[in-house]
Symmetry: C2
Subunit: 381 residues, 2 copies
């Protein structure tokens, strides 16, 4: 697993698997559409919930999907760029919040508990002297990334490793306890700086059009964050320009090495692993969004497996969803927490969409008429 060749073979075989899958699986979608038309409701009356069950059938190739097991993977890592003062919170909050996840006190725990979603917490590279103890996946790639304002976040081999590690984490968890849907969550003080820099670099947009307020910084801190991102783009300009000449895994890994985070790379790998297993992927906010965008550079069909959850106030989030051609997210609740919190709400909607499909009575079962009253009226004239 430490050899570079083996690492690339994991990515390559995953990409091959994704490309070999027929997604959307039209037969399964047709079957859902057919059943929807027989359920006791006017055609299309459940709106986006109907589209959702069709989408899930198309990804899973299951004509009547049920979400028996729902999972959110929350990857946590630190970011060297926090030393520039880009966040409203100190970097110590990353391990503190991870401990909070493990103790069940965070928003994602309350949401997951309510919606019967399993939360898997991953140490992707938290900056602490010794590993956090408890029920988390130990997959640390180091004590946080390097400061992107003064150089690349990580080496190219390290970036490659984050992706393969993400694939392996998904595959390992999925082989033990197969999941029917996966949400991507993250925790990492400073990671909206990394995400925004990546979005600006990949989309070639001005940083000022993609940077947001993160955890809630003020105007002065925002100016500082913007300047830091501009410096990160300037100092890494050669890697970025080279990356734009590349394609596939190389391109994604180059961007990730320059500006990324360990949790972003691991989430990209998790998305690839999920797609290769026909597991629908629910995007959370801007940081999980950029992870999916990187995964989609690696496997260009990946976006066909993804469901946007909510619209984050981070302007970069909309940019990512537009590039992925995701359509409008289901929810717009002005949430900006991360942790997979928006994904949890959307997974709950996916769950209910599938239940409606499977549990509602048909017109025939309930003996409800479908005849056209106007035809009747005309007849009686």
């Amino acid at each position: 697993m430490n050899s570079q060749n083996l690492i690339n073979s994991t990515i390559n075989s995953t990409v091959k698997t994704i490309e070999s899958l027929q997604v959307p699986h039209q037969q399964s979608i047709d079957s859902v559409v057919q059943r929807q038309s027989q359920l006791t409701k006017p055609e299309g009356a459940l709106g986006k919930l109907e589209a959702l069950s069709e989408f899930i059938a198309g990804v899973t190739a299951v004509p009547s999907p049920i979400l028996h097991r729902k999972t959110i993977m929350v990857a946590a890592a630190d970011h060297g760029v926090t030393e520039e003062g880009v966040s409203a919170y100190p970097k110590e909050v990353t391990p503190q919040m991870v401990k909070n996840f493990l103790q069940g006190g965070a928003a994602i725990n309350v949401l997951a508990d309510s919606f019967k979603i399993e939360v898997i917490v991953i140490d992707a590279g938290i900056n602490i002297p010794s590993p956090i103890q408890g029920a988390l996946v130990q997959a640390s790639l180091g004590k946080g990334t390097k400061n992107i304002a003064i150089g690349p976040a990580m080496t190219y081999p390290k970036a490659t490793e984050t992706i393969t590690r993400g694939i392996e984490i998904f595959n390992d968890a999925h082989s033990k306890r197969p999941t029917n849907i996966i949400g991507l969550g993250e925790m990492g003080i400073g990671n909206t700086t990394s995400a925004s820099a990546l979005i600006a670099a990949i989309s070639r947009r001005k940083p000022s059009t993609v940077v947001g307020l993160g955890t809630g910084i003020d105007a002065l801190q925002f100016e500082r964050k913007l300047t830091v991102i501009e410096r990160a783009l300037a100092v890494n300009v050669d890697i970025i320009n080279d990356a734009h000449q590349m394609s596939g895994p190389e391109k994604a890994i180059s961007f990730l090495a320059a500006l990324g985070g360990f949790e972003i790379g691991i989430l990209a790998g998790i998305a690839l692993g999920a797609a290769a297993n026909r597991v629908p992927i629910v995007i959370d906010g801007v940081t999980s969004g950029i992870a999916v965008l990187l995964a989609n550079l690696i496997a260009p069909d990946l976006k066909k497996f993804t469901i946007p959850s909510h619209l984050s106030p981070e302007p970069g989030h909309k940019v990512v969803l537009d590039i992925l051609d995701s359509g409008d997210p289901m929810l717009d609740l002005q949430m900006r927490l991360g942790e997979g919190s928006g994904a949890a709400l959307a997974i709950n909607l996916c769950d209910i969409a599938c239940r409606l499909l499977s549990d509602m009575a048909t017109f025939a079962e309930a003996a409800v008429s479908t005849i056209d009253p106007i035809a009747e009226i005309e007849e009686h004239k």
Copy 2:
């Protein structure tokens, strides 16, 4: 209860109770805001979910509200106007769907079951030879309303009775099994015609700006529906003009008598009963919306107790929410089913909003830092 005086005294005492309540209850809201600021998340990061728990605290006057019991009342009735061919479905579907509710096969059953919401079905005036058997509230006001295209829907005393009956139904259910939140659902072939006519009459807007496709009629049927509503407004013009000169209960009851439905009146009464008991009211689509608008004519503070759930594609729905000054609904899933289906999804969000408030750990409990890193950086310079 059959005397007109007693009927009015029920309405009047309910209105008096509503007006006597301090809503929003600022002390409870302050307490929620205070706790929100201590929970392990950036300030405001849960967006509308935070606003929601604050709102519920303000209505209930409970500083840490928990929705132990959640209820949706689905009132069903028939409409004489269906003989004009305004719906995609025949009127027989009203009793058929009510039986479907009682057998657990409808969308509202699946939603309520998933979200642990109790559904109370009410026969408000279904057009059937003998009452439907089963676990429903028998409150029929007749075998459907009269055809509003040729005269008033019902008499003024009958309209008064629908309101009082709604208040009594709520009070009776609430005294037996107190609920912490109520959603308003309806079933009645033809009722979007009645609702649209009421909205046009009350708002003085052109019918063409408020009428929608209901259960999914085509362009030709839409033209017919529009013409029928214009006829209803013309034939009832004197009652409508008189109603505009009135205020309070008289005004609402006059509009209801001219163009309403039995389920609309009963839902208006349920809303009044709920408000008088400090129970937050979740609006579903256009038909429950007009019921709340009528209730708000009766008790002008009623809107302070209401939560919009989703945005219906019926253009009249937005008109109602604007008049009620409801703000944007939480969800826009292009649902147009009724039954309380949108309300069920919103009640689930209310539930999770309250759980987040009560179950998340505070910064102190989780030992998470709140210090400002920028202040730190400046210090070390």
